[in-house]
Symmetry: D3
Subunit: 335 residues, 6 copies
């Protein structure tokens, strides 16, 4: 029995090494990631059993990705093999920024094995096999089939009693705001936990007014239980602040904590997913809402300081981070 199953694409990320740029590099660090994998891996490392529903090639490059998934304690039970000669794993290139030069992303994720996964390939029992199902707005943005599968899975997991979690994860390079709005509004009735930033709520869903009001509107309009909004301020490529707001519709209560300031950002990719992971961990572990917020924030924050797409952490250090954030302890280190 899984605590969490996610559905999404596993991506390889290529980052130029040793201070080089795309323009002059001769080598790339390679990381395994993908929004929904990042969420599953975060929850797994915090202690719950997770898996990912996806498809990757059977070649050695696909195997490398599979090994990484396993090393983060995410099950590969539902990673389907693509045996075709044209099987490929989606990838993207990422060049780090240095203010005012921004990070740059070049996608190379078309025609990947993931795009071909059909929910018919899934065994019936999968729908009774998890406490929570999570996916994101990246899937419908990738094309017709993933759009349909997302809808189908959301509905079926919901029908079978799983909690359904959805992160908008709006990507302007993949689809338009209008398309996103139209699609996501159709699925929101099935969603129990909804992750959406203030910007996306306003620019994509055309909401107006205070964030608190917007959150409540979403909850009421679609019957959503939890609305979660991360709040990041980018001071420079190496200095962010981070906190979040959580709305519990059941008790009509808002939860937040003081922001983490002066985060020394080394790799921002996946910090939104880590925030989702911390939040889901808290909810699935039945923590009180204030603790849920703490886990969400701590995971989101710490990911910014870790190289790679996945927040590779120990639960002990997350607990220590939360505790020192609350106590204001700024001892340099323990030795």
């Amino acid at each position: 029995m899984y605590s969490l199953l996610t559905y999404g694409e596993i991506l390889l990320r290529y980052t130029p090494q040793n201070g080089t740029r795309f323009l002059n590099t001769t080598g790339f660090d390679c990381y395994v990631g993908g929004a929904e994998l990042n969420v599953a891996a975060g929850v797994s490392q915090l202690g719950l059993k997770t898996g990912i529903i996806t498809k990757i090639p059977t070649n050695a490059i696909g195997m490398m990705a599979r090994h990484k998934v396993l090393s983060c304690k995410v099950s590969d039970e539902y990673i389907y093999p693509d045996y075709n000669a044209d099987a490929r794993i989606g990838s993207y290139f990422y060049e780090k920024g240095s203010s005012p030069r921004k990070p740059e992303v070049v996608y190379d994720r078309n025609n990947s094995s993931f795009l071909k996964l059909q929910s018919q390939e899934l065994p019936e029992e999968i729908y009774n096999n998890t406490k929570c199902f999570h996916t994101s707005g990246i899937n419908p943005a990738l094309g017709r089939n993933t759009s349909e599968q997302t809808m189908l899975m959301l509905k079926t997991f919901k029908e079978h009693g799983a909690l359904v979690s959805f992160d908008v994860n709006f990507r302007g390079n993949l689809w338009t705001g209008e398309a996103a709005k139209e699609y996501i509004e159709k699925i929101l009735p099935y969603v129990d936990i909804f992750f959406c930033t203030e910007d996306t709520a306003k620019l994509t869903f055309l909401k107006t007014g205070k964030l608190e009001t917007i959150m409540k509107e979403f909850a009421e309009e679609y019957g959503i239980s939890y609305i979660c909004t991360s709040r990041r301020i980018v001071h420079s490529t190496i200095n962010h602040s981070f906190t979040s707001l959580l709305y519990n519709a059941g008790t009509d209560t808002y939860y937040e904590e003081k922001p983490y300031e002066n985060i020394n950002v080394t790799d921002r990719i996946g910090s939104g997913d880590a925030y989702v992971a911390g939040t889901l961990y808290g909810i699935l572990n039945n923590l009180d809402m204030q603790q849920v917020v703490s886990y969400g924030n701590a995971m989101g924050v710490i990911k910014n300081t870790i190289t790679g797409d996945i927040a590779e952490i120990t639960k002990d250090e997350i607990d220590a981070l939360i505790s020192s954030h609350h106590s204001g302890n700024n001892a340099e280190m323990k030795r």
Copy 2:
């Protein structure tokens, strides 16, 4: 005025670093290559003006490839930009072997920008702008469009008086022997310089008998001026022997030289292309045939000892290599 223009795909190659394998790597060395680029770069570095006809993305990854092309003194005049959002540069993964473990190639070259290049994009004057046009059997193997463009360019360059050079470069992963035979037999009447290994001649073109006879048959049947066959013996992943046979149909003469033995192979990729480059350099520079063979062999051999797809060399060292091969001088080094 170019001495040589080639038509072909520019590829990125990813090789696991620091003794890792595909299965456990966390980083890749990245090289720029491609059979026809390798040929142009080899000829250029030997001193003649060359260019490549191809198409790559305008994004920074494409720019990186362009910079590498330029650094090898190959002109980018006919490298067409692909501005589309889905533009991509073909790539492949290459894991080094270690006997008896063989090297492994995983292609990821579908849907690349190169496949979309249309000969209509080429300016009229290009056909009068080069002494020699070279391409290979990889292009027709990649799909319908490149198959047609290859044929079209071959014919048009021929009509305008350029020497036409063609390397079979048979790739079993890209097309069948039958398809290759059918296609290539159609273009051979336009070919002046033909590169084909003995194995390919026998297995793909179903030739039988002694190599010398086969070469003469090709020449007579299709009116080809020069038939060039590299001869490699693989003792282990790190030890090859190499020589070649060249048939000059005009004088009905065969040329060869004693094999290079005990080659300490560090990267075998592109050594066939380097052999082509050395041979074309000799022919285009009007060297005597025995010297043509020497340049072909020396370039093919030295590439095996150089990391990366392109034989990055100086003409001085090729001359020194030829000279020490002939003299049997095995002084360790000059200092």
Copy 3:
């Protein structure tokens, strides 16, 4: 239900980087290994379910080792955490050789968490939970407690009907030949599958005569079903030959195959364990004995060409290696 459980220490290995030596290095590549982990990982990657019985620290260094175990598809169900402040993971330093300079091993494995593991910590059901139990002579060599635990586990698994496999793995730096002989002779009555080199049989067990005779003697004296002997010839640090002899006592038959010659050795560590893994895979998968030998040899051979303690492989490539060894196919690569 496991196909294989092994009992042994997980070690970190430190190897000087970038051509440095112990004497002048400023960095180490770090690998996770250990004889019994290597065996479990080999069998797992060939497709059977395996786990390892061991103890490691709960600190982040221990977590790193755990992640590596997981990435090779070995279960961490029976990896017990050592929460003590003085918990440590055993380690060793390994410097590559270059003939005639030999590789050098410096152990730093005393006082490790593993040494403290008590079989009482194991759940009762573990003994009914596996088809085969494997361990090696390294454990009794490490000290009194591991010596006792080894005996206890061997007996208990045997009593519960598991196949028992044992590799002598004689280490002159850890105990004497006499101690090894005395101890191992006591446990051999419980052993079904016995791995022992000819040298060890002669120097440690004081056997004399032909290898075939020695093997049969072991089988008859202790009621062992399979005796397996790897045969390695070290031509230089980078060139070995490898084959093996297997004696099936049930049918009184010997199995072997022609040696792999001219192995381009890049990392010899763990190749004996990989040979054990291939052999156990074959036996546990009920392959015919000739195939068992083929898997044993192929795994042992390929490990020599792979950097790190564990043979990180795909079953596909092992099958291809066996097939090309038998067919004599020496095509360079497939592309």
Copy 4:
């Protein structure tokens, strides 16, 4: 026809790797640079045709520098080969700083091939072959011959109608302020575009008063068309601010824009040259003066964030940087 030819030395730069210092390093990253090469490379990458007049050895180290020049689209037509046995390429060692520890430069540029270049080696037509000629005060500081050649080239290019650009580039380690003042005042009558910092104007040329006044004085005294002054504030080794002031004598107008603040400096070397490149690009491309300032600043700023002597950029990203600086858009990245 070139838009820009520069005259100056190509240097190799050695920077200790992996966080080491000069005192304990075992390896160096090696970059190709030189003030006038940096300018040519910057203008080239923005889209204009450039070349460099210089001399380097014909050995493989010289070839490596030549390849780098080519990769940045700078022509090597006027890079003269030094065939002498004692040919050498100038070099310098650079250790990064970390506040309050300052970066350190150790020169090793004496007796280089560049110092031997004679303007007689240049073909007559070179003087009619470019729209603009640029050089800097480093050349006269290097010795008698380069001092004379600088003067000669400046005059000859001027006579043939090229725009003449000159950057003071004062280096206290190479000559004294007095020598610089005396020499440069002799050449200023030939200069059309003059780059000089406020500090240098005051300390070396002994100007006093407001910067605007000083600029105008230079313009009036020597008939200079454009005076360009970069303005950098060093908050720490990793945090600078940057802007500039440009005086157009023809219209008696000053141009500037709001400073770039909080620049995350990773490599400050060559940012002054990049500023010159952006400015010359704007002027040679006939942009309006406000845009000239924008290109100068954006190039100078972005170089601080790029490792290596040359600002390896795409024009697209410079345009995007200018646009986001003006719009205040601080979105993290586009994806």
Copy 5:
């Protein structure tokens, strides 16, 4: 004749490379350090003759540490060899922090060769052979033997007329505050130069009141000549401020200088030891007290910007740093 002998453990430090963490690293940078070695090395590089009293294995790993000691001009005359099979060098793992993620230290220093050193192994003449003896509170925290040896050496050096220097260096992971207080109060009567932070004075020695008062109390109570207190403010993992206060009991005077602000911290380990080194250098070199403070601060500050445990510096750069701190000169660099 030595200016300084220190007594303490030489440690290896392992830091994950290339932006990895303990959890996912595959390699470690390895540094040689240890509080008392760091002090000796700092003083040595400033120009005085130093040595260290310690014990390390005779294996190649021990030799590597010895080579590093020598390279920093510290004598190995009193580094005793441990020939035992279980000889080991103490080590620790260090993962860099990135605010708010703190650095992490994992010790693996139990059972090291150092712990076995007996003062009987020292030659009689050692006590007459140095101007100053320095050690720290780490030794008594490591166990009974080192606790006794520390006491013995302190007394004997004192009796023979050497200046005795002691740094509390409190490590909460090694012993309790109570144990530290009890032990150190016993040795303070033998101490001439005492290094203790304000925090330790208050939390461990239970002092209260102003720092100046506390310092004077120590001096008066135990007859200590110099009390030295470094003062660090940790703004973030990459930004510290640093200064210190020195009390000269002989003249009842306090010395300090304005803090270094905005230190760009790259490796904080060993900066306290470097401060001690600078201070001891000043005192042993008979500088005036204000200069003593300057050397202490400059050494402490610069170490924060240098990777590795030892402040590898030149005296020239320390002098330049002091001078530019006092003059406020913030020129970027000299070139």
Copy 6:
């Protein structure tokens, strides 16, 4: 009192990293070496006290070289500082070969600080301070001053009773055979131990006949005590054989031992110097002549397998190598 003082230049060596060549490298491994330093370092590590007489810059690059010298236990007492602004350390570039591509050396050693050293700078007592003085034919090849200093030092050390050792070390890139012959014949009367290869004896000194005869001739003609000739066979860049012949004139006896075959060469530079070091160690340590040969050969051989100019070794491993060479023990490793 030194066992050995050598006189010679300390050089930096730059080798392209990560499989790159001069033509395309972006980084260099940097080693400290020089024929006479290599000899001193070899003897020092075998256990005798040595120093080097040389001059290097006082800048941080010079300091780095000094640190390396110290780390090999060579005294820096006679390393004279060059404070001049134009001080430089000689350097050379070295690209590894891969048969049939030969290694390539590019010198950049002109105008170095070493060339300026005057024997007047040496203290009088130096000549009474060593048992043996060693230098090589590289010094006179470098220019007039070093040629004179070499002669002066040889004579003065001889007069003061030191053993004088001289290695021809002929470098065709630095001087001609005629010049070498003329110069060296003048100094041979002062030489006690003479190192000269058979090739040099024949090509440079125009000797003919059997090697044994030539050696005896040298000894008789110039009163030399020991003539030492290394004998290397280069099978390929990675496979050499090595042995040597030693002639003891005092007893008119020749010594040799069976060659080391199949040496896996990773870095050939400095192996001749290591052979000299082993031989001098034996002679200075008064070993019997057969052992002298063994140390010479073992040192020469092992250097071929060690990266860098200096044979960084432990005496233990040299002893083990000699012992296993004589016993024919080819156990893989000890563990």
